[in-house]
């Protein structure tokens, strides 16, 4: 299976994603440069975390104008699998591939911490290896992870099972006290209506090895690999 990882300037998690895919999962993985306008010729493309263009103006707001994004939109339109992690999620909402927006955390501070997530369903290509209701640990590291969308959009997301991950505690409780950043309905990750584009604030690549916290996150990538085969 072929994976692509996009490098925007200051995409500082690109190498981490590349490492998990190529070294831990032995997948054929390549980088795409943000100025490139070559077609995406992989099966999956990842927009990694980081601070694309320094997060200046607004997170993801400049990256969405990179030449490579036209290709990503084209790729997604044809059903290609797209994952935006953290800053990548912000770029996906800025470019309209996913609904909503990511605002400043309610505490107004950067938060880096292990984080429990509830897997809402395993119908998605991105969650097949989990069981619905699983509680997984997947760290967060962001300043702007407070997901917001209007009521209508939220209702649609809920109704269409587009909410894949929610913030919770170790027992799976989803409420205000287990919400680290103020996201509506504790939303941590969503998919588009077609189900081929995933955006999530937590970093699955950071919990992909037992030696680092745990390997709960690697199942997300394994879900895709298994589905594809």
């Amino acid at each position: 299976m072929k994976f692509g990882v996009i490098i925007f300037p200051a995409s500082n998690c690109a190498e981490d994603c590349y490492y998990v895919l190529s070294s831990l999962l032995n997948q054929n993985t390549k980088y795409f440069w943000h100025k490139s306008s070559e077609a995406i010729d992989t099966d999956v493309v990842i927009l990694p975390g980081g601070f694309s263009f320094g997060d200046y103006l607004r997170c993801g707001a400049i990256a969405r104008f990179s030449p490579v994004m036209e290709r990503v939109i084209e790729f997604a339109g044809k059903g290609g699998l797209v994952i935006g992690i953290c800053n990548g999620f912000q770029i996906l909402t800025e470019s309209g591939l996913l609904p909503g927006t990511l605002m400043k955390n309610t505490c107004l501070k950067f938060i880096c911490s292990p984080q429990y997530l509830k897997v809402e369903n395993n119908y998605s290509v991105f969650s097949k290896k989990y069981n619905s209701g699983d509680v997984i640990n997947c760290p967060i590291a962001h300043n702007e992870g407070n997901y917001f969308a209007d009521e209508n959009t939220i209702n649609k997301l809920e109704k269409n099972n587009q909410i894949l991950f929610r913030y919770c505690d170790e027992n799976g409780n989803v409420n205000d006290s287990t919400n680290p950043n103020g996201s509506v309905n504790n939303i941590a990750g969503i998919i588009n209506i077609k189900g081929n584009v995933l955006g999530l604030m937590p970093h699955p690549e950071r919990s992909s090895e037992k030696i680092l916290l745990c390997d709960d996150g690697i199942k997300l990538f394994k879900s895709i690999i298994e589905f594809y085969n």
Binding site: P9, A10, N12, C13, E15, D16, Y19, V20, S23, G50, F51, F53, G54, D55, Y56, K109, F110, I111, C112, S113, P139, A141, H203, E205, R206, S208, E209, I211, L212
Partner: protein, 730 residues
């Protein structure tokens, strides 16, 4: 002219020396160059002779002091580079930018030796958080470090934060960076080969950070506020591009020398690289890409604009270099050439505006002063134990101790730092040391950055020995063998005899300990003139120590892991509590004798602990330090989320047993079945241990002394005090 040398921070004698070396009067530009290059910050004129006491050589040392960063061999051809540097004065005036650019500067030092930065650490000292201005300083400094370091994608993995009135007018912000490379890829800062090109890469040059090096070499006064243009402004995004571009350019053989442009900008980077290579450099300041027009020649030369590096590039290969920087949307501009005449020659649009010998700039006069014992030391060790009533409620005392900001969890701070990026951080902040695995290898490095100003104030030599011993203990408790040190010496003005004495004996103490532990000092920085109208800070050497773990299975942390594991104490009690957090917090004294440290016993104990860990016999290991055994046990209980049932026997006063900062002491937890094996190993090292009790599922924290239960608290209460003490201040 006689007056203008004072304005650039030079003395009359120094000015006369310049006249002699040049054989003429310097012009304004030249005088300014001397001003910054002969400042303490760049020239180490008061400290260099004392620093010679420190051991700098060892079988693992690949690169010692004098380069942008030190480098140590960690086996298999891998090299770890490291350096710590102060950004105290800029942070006192402009905490956000001061701290941010402190990170930026130290990262470029690591980059300049050809290594990829893999970890940041920091050491922060403020006045007490009860004061609004100190809360402002902490919040801004932490945000500055976070915003800059997080954007770079370098994890901030460890550090220390202290609060004491001694730092109220002059906070300390020390930033350390650690890099990883292959030994053969290490870069040096030599401007070799006359005819080769001198290029400036990265950001534009502006009027920020004007004369920052001189500013850092003066006392902070009310007037310092007006000196804000001496504080640099950081752009982490450009720094990240600079890192990525440099890592790409280093693959290219056309780069001969690299130098960070930090303190004193273009003039220090050109004169240092030329001086080391016995060459000269001619540059035209007209060619330097500038942020603003109308900059005077001396402003271009001494500007400390951030995110710039100096490259020495093979003649004719400038375009190849430029191509790579252009890819990253950065400048790479040729500003001059290496020459063979040993001069730093400055042209402005082809016309010579200044010319001085490179070696003259980089060799300021070195001073040595008489060592005179300060009066305050005469009776500071006297402590009458009758003045210290023994507490009647130990539950109350331990809760106060855990609530103390120096002891309490620093989670509110390190949560703001990305400490996981790069996927190497095995032991995250909150343990004795951070541990980073080396990808693809069965080994890891452990890192700590530590200081103890109060100890060094009470006894500069012994206190400094303890600082190194304690830092090494942190590494050993994590399963690592300490292999090298980087140090930042934060002191008051060396022109005051008391301070010079502290500096001399502190360096002597560091040297004693580093010699004993075979941990050479490979890099460092000196920050003097940390004085304000309130007086000098405590003498505060901070030491970054690198440890090597040769098998990933040896990585250990402080958390209790399983109920019914046995808890053991290794080491001997001291009856002295001078300088302890307990004496300061509960009895409000800063005096007394420091707890005894015997370096031989210390090394023996550390080796014993390492062997126990390497044999896979422990579940957790935590050294005894600030707050003593009671705090040590609370930290392992809270982080592991277990209760304890412990009983200690001793004929020493209970409060001294529980809260004394006994040296060479560790607490371990282990399965009962391993007890005999552990005792066997300890015997080999003539070290003993005593059984304290067990880890319990019941969430209760119980300690008895001599059979009397004096602490019995819910873990939740202990945890609340420990975890929320700092966050509730904001």
């Amino acid at each position: 002219m006689t007056e203008s040398y004072k304005q650039v921070g030079l003395s009359e004698d120094e000015y006369n020396l310049i006249l002699k070396q040049l054989g003429r009067e310097p012009n304004e530009l030249e005088l300014n160059l001397y001003g910054v290059m002969w400042s303490e910050h760049c020239g180490y004129k008061n400290s260099k002779l004392l620093l010679k006491m420190l051991p700098v050589k060892g079988e693992r040392v690949l690169q010692g002091p004098g380069e942008n960063a030190g480098a140590l061999d960690i086996g298999d051809g891998d090299a770890v580079t490291m350096k710590v540097e102060s950004h105290n004065h800029p942070s006192a005036l402009s905490p956000y930018q001061g701290a941010a650019t402190g990170v930026g500067g130290i990262v470029r030092d690591i980059l300049a030796v050809g290594a990829y930065p893999v970890a940041n650490l920091n050491s922060l000292y403020f006045g007490k958080l009860e004061k609004a201005h100190q809360r402002y300083l902490l919040a801004e400094v932490v945000k500055g470090i976070a915003d800059y370091g997080n954007c770079l994608g370098i994890p901030t993995v460890a550090g220390e934060v202290h609060f004491d009135d001694a730092y109220e007018g002059n906070c300390l912000v020390n930033a350390m960076c650690v890099g990883l490379t292959r030994s053969e890829d290490l870069k040096t800062a030599f401007a070799k080969g006359p005819g080769n090109s001198v290029m400036v890469v990265g950001n534009l040059t502006g009027r920020d950070g004007m004369g920052g090096a001189s500013f850092a070499s003066q006392e902070l006064t009310k007037e310092s506020e007006e000196n804000r243009s001496a504080v640099q402004v950081g752009d982490p995004f450009v720094e990240k591009l600079l890192i990525d571009a440099c890592m790409e350019i280093f693959q290219n053989e056309n780069v001969i020398g690299v130098q960070d442009m930090g303190a004193a900008g273009i003039i220090s980077s050109t004169s240092e690289t030329a001086s080391k290579a016995e060459t000269g450099i001619e540059i035209d300041i007209d060619l330097v890409p500038k942020r603003e027009s109308g900059m005077l020649p001396y402003e271009v030369m001494i500007s400390e604009s951030q995110e710039r590096m100096l490259l020495i590039v093979k003649e004719g290969k400038e375009n190849e270099v430029n191509k790579i920087f252009h890819k990253w949307d950065l400048h790479a501009v040729k500003i001059g050439n290496v020459t063979d005449d040993g001069m730093i020659r400055v042209l402005n649009n082809g016309i010579k505006v200044g010319e001085v010998p490179a070696k003259s700039l980089t060799n300021p006069p070195l001073y040595k002063k008489d060592i005179i014992k300060p009066e305050y030391l005469n009776d500071i060790e006297l402590l009458n134990y009758e003045d210290l009533p023994e507490p009647d409620n130990y539950n109350k005392v331990i809760l106060i101790m855990l609530d103390n900001h120096n002891i309490a969890s620093k989670e509110w701070i390190y949560r703001q730092y990305d400490h996981m990026v790069q996927l190497n951080t095995v032991v995250t902040p909150g343990s004795d040391a951070a541990v980073l695995r080396i990808k693809g290898k069965n080994k890891a490095i452990a890192l700590t950055l530590d200081g103890n100003g109060r100890y060094v104030y009470l006894n500069p030599e012994k206190g400094s020995e303890i600082v190194i011993a304690e830092a090494c203990r942190n590494l050993v408790a994590s399963g690592a063998k300490p292999i090298g040190v980087t140090d930042c010496l934060n002191f008051g003005s060396p022109e005051k005899p008391d301070i010079y004495y502290q500096l001399y004996y502190s360096i002597k103490g560091l040297a004693n300990a580093c010699n004993k532990f075979n941990t050479p000092v490979v890099s460092g920085n000196v920050s003097l003139y940390n004085d304000t109208e309130y007086g000098s800070i405590y003498p505060t050497p901070t030491v970054g120590v690198l440890g090597l773990i040769e098998d990933l299975n040896h990585i250990t942390d402080i958390k209790f892991k399983n109920a019914d594991d046995c808890i053991y104490l290794i080491g001997n009690f001291s009856t002295e509590i001078g300088g302890s957090e307990y004496l300061h917090e509960i009895h409000k004294f800063v005096k007394g004798k420091l707890p005894e440290l015997n370096l031989d016993i210390e090394l023996n104990t550390q080796n014993a602990i390492l062997e126990i860990i390497r044999n896979g016999l422990v579940k957790s290991c935590h050294d005894v330090s600030d707050g003593g055994i009671a705090v040590n046990l609370a930290e392992s209980a809270v982080t592991g989320n277990f209760g304890i049932d412990v009983s200690i026997n001793s004929n020493i006063r209970k409060d001294i047993v529980l809260f004394g900062e006994h040296q060479s002491m560790f607490v371990i937890s282990a399965e009962k079945k391993n007890e005999n094996k552990i005792v066997g190993i300890l015997k080999k090292f003539q070290t003993k241990m005593s059984y304290l009790g067990t880890v319990t599922d019941e969430k209760i924290f119980k300690i008895s002394v001599n059979g009397n239960e004096i602490i019995n608290l819910d873990l939740a209460q202990i945890s609340e005090n420990y975890k929320n003490s700092i966050s509730k201040m904001f």
